[in-house]
């Protein structure tokens, strides 16, 4: 599904990410683990194609994304990669429905309200389509953010610290949600986390930093 080769990333401060090789199969679920500052978010950003690595190649769904021009990379990301950010970042002035339609619009895909409604209903957000993000509970907002990430049926679903600051029950619900949705669209799931609780639930680990 995706292949990283001789990947290196250096910040101005000299913080370095170094991944000789990582090959993830299609549909696999992975955890990227490591302490804070070990480069988990950076790795996620490189996988998402929103950050170009200093060196090395990233191939997602058979496409060497380093070879794509900027505009091509944006389109590729919109259509094939879903991202759930740690702070969710729903667009606050748009309704839940419009947040999802925005994802379809910006990816250059047809806007399918029926599909969006079906997706929202499956996530128990059917009655929240017209609600604004500030009217949602944290759980609802997280489901809406996941819905926005999977609405274009991506092949790669990325989540950054989806369970931090959640109590145990909600932690399992969040993980369950991501796994279910990834399975539903056959996407490869990569979760960046430092949450010890979920390590036992996902078998594939990629360790960064000190814990490697």
């Amino acid at each position: 599904m995706f292949v990283l080769k001789n990947l290196r990333h250096a910040y101005d401060g000299g913080d370095v990410l170094n991944i000789p090789a990582w090959d993830a199969e299609s549909g696999a679920h992975w955890l990227v683990v490591g302490p804070s500052g070990s480069g988990k978010t950076t790795l996620l950003h490189i996988l998402a194609g929103i950050l170009r690595p200093t060196a090395g190649s990233v191939t997602v769904a058979g496409q060497d994304i380093g070879a794509l021009p900027a505009a091509g990379l944006d389109r590729f990301r919109g259509r094939h990669i879903g991202i759930v950010l740690q702070r969710l970042h729903l667009v606050t002035s748009l309704t839940v429905m419009n947040n999802l339609l925005l994802a379809q619009y910006l990816a250059g895909l047809a806007q399918d309200k029926a599909h969006v409604n079906g997706l929202l209903a499956s996530l128990e957000l059917g009655d929240k389509a017209g609600a604004y993000p500030h009217e949602l509970s944290h759980g609802q907002a997280q489901r809406a953010a996941v819905a926005r990430a999977v609405v274009n049926q991506p092949q790669l679903l990325l989540a950054d610290e989806p369970t931090s600051n959640l109590d145990d029950q909600r932690c399992w619900q969040a993980l369950e949600l991501l796994e279910t949705q990834a399975r539903a669209c056959g996407a490869t799931l990569v979760i960046a986390t430092h949450d010890q609780r979920i390590k036992s639930r996902v078998s594939n680990h990629y360790a960064l930093g000190d814990s490697s």
Partner: protein
């Protein structure tokens, strides 16, 4: 869902800022719209009233006053001119046509003008009801005079001495209405027209007039007076001869409508320029305010912009989003401003109408308003340029990594 939906959502989310920016821009646009409408209609109206009149001859005094009193009937005349001297001008070979005017009375603030049928013909007016005057003391009412006084055919009324309301009435010599003119959109609308003889009858020094129909023969030529002569030249060459001939060889004064109205507009123009400058400052302030609003919004929206990039938006899309928002604000301001400007013009028209001055209406369109719309949109786009450029350069990874 498209850029417009997103822009609208953002504008609505900050409705107070949006409303203030739109209002600020609208005030500037409205001021200029009002100026455009008022000056355009005033100029058009003044040109229409002066059309075909090459020269006005009146008693010695201010040429501008002669034009204002004899053509527009706004000012008091400089005095009267002797009938004999006027006749000399009328017979001059450089003169093609003359229309004599005898002023002196008014009725409820509307001027009674003693003249000839040519005056009505000159403005292309015609009687809507009844006929034109034939005998002395028969009058024809302008459309607005008829509407305002409610007088119809056969009505009798006495004129008041002087051109303003409240003068002493000439009760012994009442006028009879024999016709009402159709509205012509000219100065005729607010005049009471009659024969020159009527004015002579009313102002005759000797009060033993036996037969008013025969007044012209009962008076000696030396007693007769006009107030002004409207003159049409026989040839363009007359412009070089006639004014100098009149000014040098008589007690009379020649005034050119074209020259004097141009002078008048130059005087008014200073005030218009000041107002226009003020309005442009308003528009500039509105542009600045839109810029500040969008620039501040960038900070609030940095995550939104980064998220849109992760959803597949190209930098140009974010740029277009900001530009569209500036354009949307400007369009709202332009539309509101134009509407407000036209409403103000209509309101001003109501005030001026009550004062029986020139007519101004909001139900008119000046082509320069298109430039105004273009100006507003340009202000919107320019105000959004820098924010748009910054939005396009959003560092996604760095922004998202911060939280």
């Amino acid at each position: 869902m498209n850029l417009a939906t997103v822009s609208f959502a953002y504008l609505r989310a900050r409705s107070l800022t949006t409303a203030l920016n739109v209002l600020l821009l609208a005030l500037g646009i409205a001021t200029i719209t009002l100026l455009l409408l008022a000056t355009d209609q005033l100029e058009e109206r003044m040109q229409r009233d002066a059309r075909g009149i090459d020269l006005v001859v009146g008693a010695k005094g201010s040429p501008l006053q002669i034009i204002l009193s004899a053509i527009y009937h706004l000012d008091v005349p400089t005095g009267n001119i002797p009938f004999v001297q006027a006749r000399e001008i009328q017979q001059h070979r450089a003169v093609k046509k003359t229309i004599p005017l005898a002023l002196g009375d008014s009725y409820r603030g509307f001027r009674v003008v003693g003249t000839v049928h040519d005056y009505v013909v000159h403005y292309g007016a015609r009687a809507a009801v009844g006929r034109l005057w034939e005998k002395p003391m028969e009058v024809v009412l302008g459309a607005e005079v008829a509407a305002r006084t409610g007088h119809t055919l056969g009505a009798n009324f006495a004129g008041a001495h002087g051109l303003s309301e409240g003068g002493q009435e000439h009760e012994t010599q009442p006028y009879t209405v024999v016709g009402v003119l159709a509205p012509s959109g000219t100065v005729l609308d607010r005049l009471v027209l009659t024969s020159v003889e009527s004015v002579w009858v009313v102002h005759a020094e000797h009060h033993d007039i036996k037969d008013v129909t025969d007044i012209a023969r009962q008076m000696s030529d030396d007693e007769k007076e006009y107030t002004a002569l409207l003159i049409q030249y026989a040839s363009p060459l007359a412009a070089a001869i006639l004014p100098r001939y009149i000014n040098n060889n008589s007690e009379m004064q020649a005034a050119s409508p074209a020259f004097e109205t141009a002078r008048l507009f130059r005087i008014i123009g200073v005030g218009v320029d000041v107002l226009r400058g003020f309005a442009l400052v308003l528009i500039f302030a509105a542009g600045l305010s839109v810029f500040i609003a969008l620039y501040n919004a960038l900070n609030e929206r940095r995550y939104d912009l980064a998220v849109m990039r992760t959803l597949g938006a190209r930098p140009a899309k974010l740029m277009a989003l900001m530009l569209f928002e500036g354009l949307l604000l400007a369009s709202l301001g332009a539309v509101l401003g134009l509407a407000l400007g036209h409403a103000l013009a209509q309101a001003l028209g109501g005030v001026l109408k009550a004062a029986q001055q020139v007519e101004v209406t909001g139900w008119a369109w000046v082509n320069d308003e298109l430039w105004l719309v273009a100006l507003a949109l340009a202000v919107g786009v320019i105000a959004a340029l820098l924010p748009a450029w910054r939005a396009a350069r959003t560092e996604i990874a760095a922004t998202l990594a911060r939280g």
